[in-house]
Amino acid sequence: MTVTPGWYMGLAAVLFAIGASGLLLRRNALIMFMSVELMLNAANLTFVAAGRELNVLDGQVSVFFVMVVAAAEVVVGLAIIVAVFRRRATASVDELAEMKG
């Protein structure tokens, strides 16, 4: 049995679905963060798989961009979560609803 790009795509889809449902169903900000990371990495997987299949470097370059952005986002996001946690002693996003209309 050979591993075709289809498998990679399937794995990426599964990972993305897990991430998306985690984001939608969980309330803990940290878990939601991890779900976002999961979705980003699912996307990364499709990039490298496609790049390898088509034999171009663009896929890998895109992945680097995504990783850099994700890293930056984590820095800011975690700082916010820590700050909120210090203040509220909770990481549940449902309780952070002051801005609702």
Binding site: A20, L23, L24, L25, M32, V93, D94, L96, A97, E98, M99, K100, G101
Partner: protein, 625 residues
């Protein structure tokens, strides 16, 4: 010549500017002396500049300052001809004496510096008006005169009556100014220029009788506003709220003479519109009689004089309407002398009695204030038209000319004669009530003769009122020859030849003397002061309720309209539109608000749905399904 004319204008203007800026710091009495000095210097310079005219070999000169509105071809230009020279001399001469008088009269007033700044501005404005070489500059002076009269009438602005009198003068003048402004537009539309010289030269060929009539009637509306003629005279009696020297200035030298001067200046146009000239004369005659009857019954000494001014201005309008421009200007001049004198004398009396203006509480002042009394008597006889005082020559010339025109003008002559009789009566009443009889002063009043700064101008004006008429007598028509160059191309009306003028003069003098005797019997020799009661007196005292009628019509209709505009249109209409936009934005926002639930989850779902929809769209575009 140019330098003189420029200085005549600039000196009072410099006084205005200096006193506006530094009036408070200069203080009393220096501010008054500076103001008096500038106006006196103007007078001296205008006399010097007129020397050629006196000699009879002068010619009109135009002084151009700068290009003002090139698009209309309008320069800031001033005309120095005999007519403007006479006006400039009257304005600055009488103005200077009134300034001098004010130093004494305004003594101790906290607004001393401001007062003289305004007074100088008034004289400057009037000089701009009379020296203008085109309608545009004339209009500038015209409006500045309105402004300075407003400032001076409401000089004691903390008094509500003074503030509203100032407003009234301004608003009523505005009504006249509308007519004046439209007339100027018609002039420009017809001639394409505002310059006097060109307009008058081409008037006959350019203007049809209809256009000339329209222009002149509109000019008359403006003149009626400024010169307090029917139906726009109502502001003048209220203008008494200002300090008395202001009344003297408004009534004698500046402001009210503007209308007469303007009609005389535009005589060429009035000649092309005989109907308008007739209207001018009729308005003048009716106003003269109307105001004279009101003056009979007033108890406020200044009000008598105010209505007297309106009446005398009626004479001047009658004269200029009858094309007797020289006679009109002559009466303007003599009237400036004796009316300034009357007002300053009245001011002296008011001052002496501690701001008492009611003649019922005067009386017996002849012994206490001999100088004021003597000068007032001269003014009284002058305005009554007794020979050889100034009023006799000017008034009789007007009456003789109007009589000489014959036909319907005889009616106007009759009205003029009747007015002369009434004038003699109300002036005699004023003098008898004020200076003769038993003192009826308020408790504690200690009348005294006024200081020299006030009596010197009185004496000066009395001299002018005494002999001022001699400049233009039938024996020697000095003023007429002097003014002739200004009225080239205008057919001046002259008194009839022969003995008629003399007969008329004797008739007038006789009836005037009879009227004075009648008044003396009633007020001087009678045992008790007449009651002056009854419906007739009440009607006259209330000035025929004209003010009330104007109030009912214009305020009665205007106030609801203004209320509707304020409460209805502004509050509901304008504010409604503004608030409506705000309301619309807010309610749209309120409708969108539920979208922001505050739950990250729902935003994530929205993003997911969006992403899926987008991907689906791309896929369907690519033909996957």
């Amino acid at each position: 010549m140019e330098t003189y004319v420029t200085l005549v204008l600039l000196l009072p203007l410099a006084g205005t500017v200096a006193l506006f800026g530094l009036g408070k710091r200069i203080g009393e009495p220096a501010a008054g002396w500076i103001a008096t000095a500038t106006v006196s210097a103007s007078f001296v310079l205008s006399v010097v500049a007129s020397v050629d005219f006196f000699a009879g070999d002068g010619h009109a000169e135009v002084v151009r300052w700068f290009e003002w509105m090139p698009a209309f071809g309008v320069d800031a230009a001033f005309l120095w001809d005999p007519l403007s020279a006479v006006m400039a001399m009257v304005v600055s001469g009488v103005g200077a004496l009134i300034h001098l008088y004010s130093i004494g009269y305004m003594h101790g007033d906290p607004g001393f510096g401001r007062f003289f700044a305004y007074m100088n501005l008034f004289v400057t404005s009037m000089l701009i008006l009379v020296l203008a070489d085109n309608f545009a500059v004339l209009f500038v002076g015209w409006e500045l005169v309105g402004l300075s009269s407003y400032l001076l009438i409401s000089f004691w602005f903390e008094r509500p009556s003074a503030a509203s009198a100032g407003k009234k003068a301004f608003v009523v003048n505005r009504v006249g100014d509308v007519g004046f402004l439209v007339a100027l537009m018609l002039v420009f539309a017809s001639f394409g220029t505002f310059a006097f010289g060109e307009v008058f030269e081409r008037a006959e060929s350019v203007l049809s009788t209809e256009t000339a009539t329209a222009i002149t009637l509109l000019l008359l509306l403006g003149a009626a506003g400024k010169s307090a003629q029917l139906p726009l005279y109502v502001w003048l009696p209220d203008a008494m709220e200002g300090p008395t020297p202001v009344s003297a200035l408004i009534h004698a030298a500046t402001m009210v003479t503007a209308g007469v001067y303007m009609v005389a200046r535009t005589g060429v146009l009035f000649e092309l519109a005989p109907v308008s000239a007739g209207v001018v004369a009729t308005v003048g005659a009716v106003t003269a009689l109307f105001a004279a009857t009101i003056a009979l019954a007033q108890n406020d000494i200044k009000r008598v004089l105010a209505y007297s001014t309106i009446s005398q201005l009626g004479y001047m309008f009658m004269a200029v309407g009858a094309a007797a421009y020289v006679a009109g200007i002559f009466h303007l001049m003599t009237h400036a002398f004796f009316k300034a004198l009357l007002f300053l004398g009245a001011g002296s009396v008011i001052h002496a009695l501690g701001d008492e203006q009611d003649m019922r509480r005067m009386g017996g002042l002849s012994k206490v204030m001999p100088i004021t009394f003597a000068t007032m008597v001269i003014a009284w006889l002058a305005i009554s038209g007794l020979p050889p005082l100034s009023g006799f020559w000017s008034k009789d010339e007007i009456l003789a000319i109007v009589y000489g025109r014959g036909d319907a003008w005889l009616v106007l002559w009759g009205i003029g004669l009747l007015t002369a009789v009434l004038t003699a009566v109300y002036m005699a009443r004023l003098v008898f009530l004020t200076f003769f009889g038993e003192p009826r002063w308020e408790e504690g009043a200690r009348p005294h003769e006024s200081p020299a700064t006030m009596t010197v101008p009185l004496v000066g004006l009395a001299g002018a009122a005494l002999v001022g008429g001699l400049v233009n007598t039938p024996f020697r028509l000095g003023l007429e020859h002097f003014l002739e160059p200004s009225f080239e191309g205008v057919k001046l009306a002259h008194p009839p030849e022969g003995v008629t003028p003399w007969v008329l003069a004797i008739v007038t003098t006789a009836v005037v003397l009879a009227a004075i005797a009648f008044t003396a019997r009633r007020y001087l020799w009678a045992a008790a002061r007449p009651a002056e009661e009854g419906r007739g007196w009440g009607l006259l005292r209330a000035a025929y309720h004209v003010d009330d009628a104007y109030g009912a019509v214009f305020v009665g209709l205007g106030a609801p309209a203004a209320t509707w505009l304020a409460d209805g249109f502004d509050q509901r209409g304008v504010d409604g539109a503004v608030n409506g936009v705000g309301w619309l934005t807010r309610s749209f926002g309120r409708w969108l608000r539920p979208l922001q639930t505050g739950f990250v989850r729902s935003y994530a779902v929205a993003i997911l749905v969006g992403a899926v929809a987008l991907v689906g769209w791309f896929l369907s575009r690519a033909g996957v399904f």
